[in-house]
């Protein structure tokens, strides 16, 4: 498939097609395409998906070769040469993982920008580095298993969402604008996972933020939507600030920002550094600082505590946008970044920062943040009545799971985190699109208290939503079961360790509890929406019927995926084996790293699987008991647990806490600044204007308007001048 196109051309095409779609829609949408504005986006994204899939197959072939080779970790590296040369090179040169890097053009070069840091390494053993390293940013695209999987997943989900949006957004005045933004969003996300440089990662990190701002505030006439867009952007700024500081530290520590080896300098995840048996990555306090700053950025994008507050508010955007943000683009960026930076986190783990007898390592912090967020969001999700908000908190919670997996910092942990990201994309997109379908039928009412018993009215939505819920709850054999189980195993595997074992043990229990909560709130939403007596809000009007085919088709496709994708990846663990060949992750299985990090992915532990399934089933059973009947027990329960119920309903008051701690001081500062500007700065400017005005005012009385007066004044002045000139003695 697509063999007539060079692999590097295809790597360029994947982001280029959405960008072209965005530009075409933006330029022609308003005047020419109008109600056909979805075509460029749908076609562009679909082609992009096909190309990414072919890229994935290429990468899988390369990885397969690498796996079958004599050298256990020998692999092909195309760098930045063309694909065929890469195959030739693979036979001679052992490499860590599989990567293809393609340089498009040079963006910026500053020679001698930094004195060579201690950790800067040469790309080859032969040449030593000069004393001053250049700041050189190339626009380079890379392709490795991690990128290829992300690209395929993102473009697949985005294509389905674009088709769905063609039905959902039909008749909206900003139809063309919407599809232009969507295509731009996908372009940013594909670039984010494709670039091979931290600075460019930051650029597209921001681009994703801008697109999410535009899309969350898509209905900007609505004050809530405008505020939600602003909030998402501002909260992300906090994280991005940390991320930027992290980049500065990386730059000053490693002397480069490239992932790959370029210009004779070893990239941060380049072959030279990964193969270096000495101590290529910095640990201790500096390593911890880098990792935590990167993690702050990831917290912002992936809505982890303490920056989780923007995601539920982002529900103000159109539902396809919520699906896109929650499933494919944006929130997965943080997990992707942590997975990509695994070597940095590992370094912190192997050489923790010791402070007053306790040692702190970055992966543990990541895992704790992930676990805490998973539990917190799960608890909040229990009482929300807005269907989309329940799903939003479940996303926050599931992202917490992914970080928990990544925080286990073993090969199994990181792979299972990425696996959960992969499966989660399918069922979360499915659930959001299902919620959108309900919302579409209910005349944009999304509060579950106003409708119920829709299963006869919307049979397709009901069936697909059920599959999505089962997958989210983690019931065999749906997708969520496999990935969640993989994470639980990875975390459990670390609970036996000395030192951090207790932390991971607690996190394991937390994750099990969260699994129960997840099952409960998912099925609570499911039962409240689709079961009970049939009630329809009056806003629905004559809309209350099953959605049109552009909306149900993606639902069915996603439901099939959500049902089989877990089992499919489980068969001979191709997902894990493929992902292992990512340079950053292949590093873990290197000989000189401790053996316990390498633990195999997808080790099926029947005890853990049984326990989590039991907990999930119990959650479903409780939901069925409480919400399938007449719901008297719900009222009783909420009365007994009044303080807890209130806390959950008010999202543990995080918004209020931030209002007091952040918003008010900022507003006070802004008020002071306003006063300073008004009184001091403006006062100075006004004074500069006032002085000449008053000086000039004294001469104003000379302007009599009588021409003869002026002439006389001139003549007299001339006379005075003459007199002075001819005055004797001067």
């Amino acid at each position: 498939m697509f063999d007539f196109l060079d692999v590097t051309t295809r790597m360029t095409l994947v982001p280029a097609l959405p960008l072209a779609a965005a530009l075409v829609t933006a330029l022609l949408g308003r005047s020419y395409l109008r109600e056909h504005s979805h075509w460029p986006t749908v076609v562009g994204l679909a082609l992009s998906f096909v190309v990414s899939l072919s890229l994935l197959f290429n990468i899988r072939d390369l990885a397969g070769q690498a796996h079958a080779g004599h050298e256990p970790h020998a692999a092909a590296t195309a760098h930045p040469a063309s694909f065929r040369q890469a195959e030739a090179a693979s036979e001679t040169k052992p490499a860590v993982g599989v990567e293809i890097v393609h340089q498009l053009w040079n963006w910026a070069t500053i020679e001698g920008a930094i004195d060579r840091p201690e950790r800067a390494l040469p790309a080859t053993d032969a040449a030593a580095l000069p004393a001053a390293l250049p700041f050189k940013i190339d626009i380079s695209l890379r392709s490795d298993p991690l990128t290829a999987i992300m690209l395929s997943m993102v473009t697949f989900i985005a294509t389905l969402i674009a088709i769905y949006a063609a039905g959902y957004m039909h008749g909206d005045p900003g139809y063309w604008r919407f599809f232009s933004y969507i295509a731009l969003f996908v372009f940013s996300m594909t670039m984010l996972v494709s670039v091979s440089n931290f600075l460019l990662l930051y650029v597209f990190w921001e681009a994703v933020g801008v697109c999410s701002y535009l899309l969350i505030g898509f209905w900007f006439e609505k004050p809530e939507a405008a505020a939600a867009g602003k909030k998402a952007f501002l909260v992300n700024r906090v994280g991005d600030f940390g991320f930027a500081l992290g980049l500065f530290l990386i730059w000053s520590t490693y002397g480069t920002l490239n992932y790959h080896d370029a210009d004779g300098i070893a990239g941060i995840f380049g072959q030279a550094r990964l193969m270096n048996t000495a101590d290529p990555y910095v640990g201790g306090g500096l390593g911890l600082a880098i990792c935590l700053l990167l993690m702050l950025g990831a917290c912002g994008k992936s809505a982890q505590f303490p920056l989780h507050v923007w995601l539920p508010d982002a529900m103000e955007g159109p539902t396809p946008v919520s699906a896109l943000i929650h499933a494919a683009t944006m929130v997965t960026a943080g997990v992707y970044m942590v997975a990509r930076c695994t070597p940095l986190f590992l370094a912190s783990q192997m050489e923790p920062f010791v402070y007053g007898g306790t040692s702190i390592s970055a992966p543990t912090v990541v895992a704790v943040i992930g676990g805490f967020t998973a539990l917190l969001a799960g608890l909040i999700g229990l009482t929300q009545t807005d269907l989309k908000r329940v799903l939003a908190y479940s996303t926050v919670s599931q992202l917490g799971y992914m970080f928990l997996g990544a925080g286990a910092a073993t090969l199994a942990g990181v792979t299972s985190g990425m696996f959960h990201l992969f499966t989660h994309a399918f069922f979360k997109a499915l659930l959001f699109l299902g919620a959108g379908s309900v919302m579409h039928a209910m005349g944009h009412v999304i509060d579950m208290r106003y409708f119920s018993g829709l299963r006869k009215l919307m049979p397709v939505t009901h069936g697909t939503f059920l599959i999505g819920s089962l997958a989210l709850a983690g019931i065999v054999p749906f997708a969520g079961f496999y990935s969640k189980d993989a994470i639980l195993s990875a975390v459990h595997a670390r609970s036996g360790e000395e030192g951090v074992g207790l932390v991971y043990g607690v996190l394991y229990v937390t994750a099990i509890v969260t699994a129960g909560l997840t099952a409960f709130y998912t099925f609570r939403a499911f039962f409240m929406t689709f079961y009970g007596e049939e009630r329809i809000p009056h806003e629905a009007g004559h809309h209350a019927h099953e959605s049109p085919w552009p909306m149900t088709l993606p639902l069915v496709v996603l439901a099939v995926c959500a049902a089989v994708v877990g089992k499919w990846c489980e068969v001979d663990h191709w997902f894990g084996h493929l992902l292992e060949q990512t340079p950053s992750l292949a590093y873990i299985s290197q000989k000189h790293l401790p053996i316990d990090l390498r633990g195999p992915f997808g080790q099926f532990d029947i005890e853990i699987a049984a326990l989590s399934s039991l907990v999930a089933l119990a959650g479903i059973a409780v939901a069925a008991f409480l919400y399938l009947g007449d719901r008297r027990e719900v009222d009783l329960l909420s009365k007994w647990l009044r303080p807890f119920y209130n806390a959950s309903l008010h999202k543990f008051w995080w918004d209020e806490i931030y209002t007091v701690l952040v918003v008010w001081p900022t507003k006070a500062l802004a008020a002071v600044s306003y006063l300073v500007d008004r009184v001091i700065i403006d006062g100075l400017v006004d004074l500069c204007g006032w002085i000449p005005q008053k000086l000039g005012g004294t001469l104003r009385s000379l302007q009599t308007g009588l021409v003869q007066f002026y002439a006389l004044a001139m003549a007299m002045a001339l006379a005075v001048l003459l007199l002075t000139l001819i005055w004797p003695g001067t």
Partner: protein, 147 residues
């Protein structure tokens, strides 16, 4: 007559022309007269320059005068055009009409009243008529009253 005396004579005439022009410019209110007075000042200066040129025996003075004449021609065109436009706008040639262009908070210049005409009819000395009464040309009479 030696050169210095010759120069002095011309300078005196030039200075007189300038002074008369200046006084005319400052005292008259008719814009055309003021314009003429300004021209007269230019001529006074020109005459002095020519005289100095003659005195020094070079062409500098004459060159400047030709320059002045050129500029004066342009100035005449602009000035007459402006006077014409101002006359069309106000129907007056009186320059004090345009004193409204003064600073807004200054008092207006008010013309002093002319001394009142004496009440009783004037009796002018008359001569005894001699000879026959001349016959007036009617057309001339009409013109006379207008001049």
């Amino acid at each position: 007559m030696n050169e210095t005396t010759l120069l002095l004579n011309y300078l005196v005439v030039g200075a007189l022309l300038f002074a008369i022009g200046l006084v005319g410019f400052v005292t008259r209110r008719n814009m055309i007269i003021m314009f003429l007075a300004a021209e007269m000042m230019l001529q006074g200066v020109s005459l002095s320059l020519v005289a100095w040129g003659r005195y020094h025996g070079d062409w500098g003075g004459q060159m400047l005068v030709i320059f002045i004449i050129t500029v004066a021609a342009c100035e005449a065109a602009v000035a007459l055009a402006m006077i014409l436009m101002m006359f069309q706008a106000s129907g007056k040639l009186d320059i004090t009409f345009w004193q409204q262009e003064r600073e807004s908070n200054l008092p207006a210049f008010v013309d002093q009243e002319l001394p009142a005409e004496p009440e009783e009819p004037q009796h002018w000395p008359t001569l005894t008529p001699a000879g026959r009464e001349p016959r007036f040309d009617q057309e001339e009479v009409i013109h006379r009253t207008h001049v």
